[in-house]
Amino acid sequence: MTDPLFEYLCRMGDSTLVLGHRVSEWCGVAPVLEEDIALANTALDLIGQTQLWLGLAGEVEGKGRDADALAFHRDVWEFRNLLLVEQPNGDFGRTMMRQFLFDSWHLSYLKGLAGSSNDQIAAIAEKSVKEVTYHLERSTDTVIGLGDGTEESHRRMQDALDRLYPYVGEMFLTDAVDTAMTEQNIAPDPATLRPAFDAHLDAVLQEATLTKPQDNFAHKGGKTGARHTEHLGHMLSQMQWLQRAYPGATW
């Protein structure tokens, strides 16, 4: 098995990378200019976090790969992002629901990393918490505003929740890598964060007049890399096309 710390850092970095790229797909086509800029800011925050996570991953691996090499020279099966973040944008409502679900997990998880025994990880988390606090505020407001909005916006948000909820469970699955991190006090056990997440989710959904799906079935295989959805490959072929066509190109 690969070094669990490397594996772990790739999980963090790949999730922010893939979501950052997804959100950046809105650039220039968001429903209003203000949202367009806000989404671009969020995407840039996430890409910035990716540089830190994957940069550290490359250092830990010690094979001379930097963040760019990890982002652009790996294929689907080497990615370790959560399945949630690779789901296509859909309409604006679905994008914001995906963002809200991720942000809710992301913020509580990053807060759990503040006391990490690994100083570099604690430092990345501390920087990220400020950005993600704002992401969550914004996505929460949007989910409430659109959920408790018009008939159409409500319907679209409920559709988005129904579609994305099966990807929530993976964020709280604990496997061997997580256990290794917990044992060394590097990272919290994701499973322990679920009750607080559920409480927050329930409160927001109630305000948004949305109904949480009853079924707790969870797709998995993203963070282990065992089985990504078909969407990631398509996304990477766009994101990586330049490095695939012109390997090592710089400018």
Binding site: V32, L33, E34, I37, A38, N41, Y134, E137, R138, D141, G145
Partner: protein
């Protein structure tokens, strides 16, 4: 900002526009204070559904390069504005009152920059 059709200022003849489109959020004027001790400065406008969203949008649109420490958002419709038609009566009388400018004093060099 996202539409050429801005909301009108309240009670001003100067800015007669079409009604804001029903699907359009109201227009907000944004003021940013760059540093402690300076005053808020008008930086532009944007659309938002309410005051809270106006602040958030202002944060994203106008402070992404670390410009501010404080944001004010004022709904454009709440601003009372002077009318360009009155500019003769309002401003021209001061054109020939040169004595209102303190330019007739010799400032001693010792005073330095004022």
């Amino acid at each position: 900002m996202s539409s050429p059709e801005s909301s009108p200022y309240k009670d001003t003849k100067a800015s007669i526009h079409e009604e804001t489109r029903k699907t359009e959020w109201p227009l907000w004027e944004i003021f940013i204070r760059g540093q402690h001790g300076l005053s808020h400065r008008h930086v532009g406008s944007l659309h938002a559904a309410d005051a809270e969203m106006a602040i958030k949008n202002a944060r994203d649109v106008y402070t992404r390069r670390n410009e501010g420490v404080s944001i004010w958002a004022v709904e454009a419709a709440d601003i009372a504005a002077s009318s360009p038609e009155e500019k003769g009566a309002l401003y021209e009388p001061s054109n020939d009152k040169v004595y209102r400018h303190p330019t007739f004093f010799n400032i001693p060099d010792d005073v330095g920059a004022m």
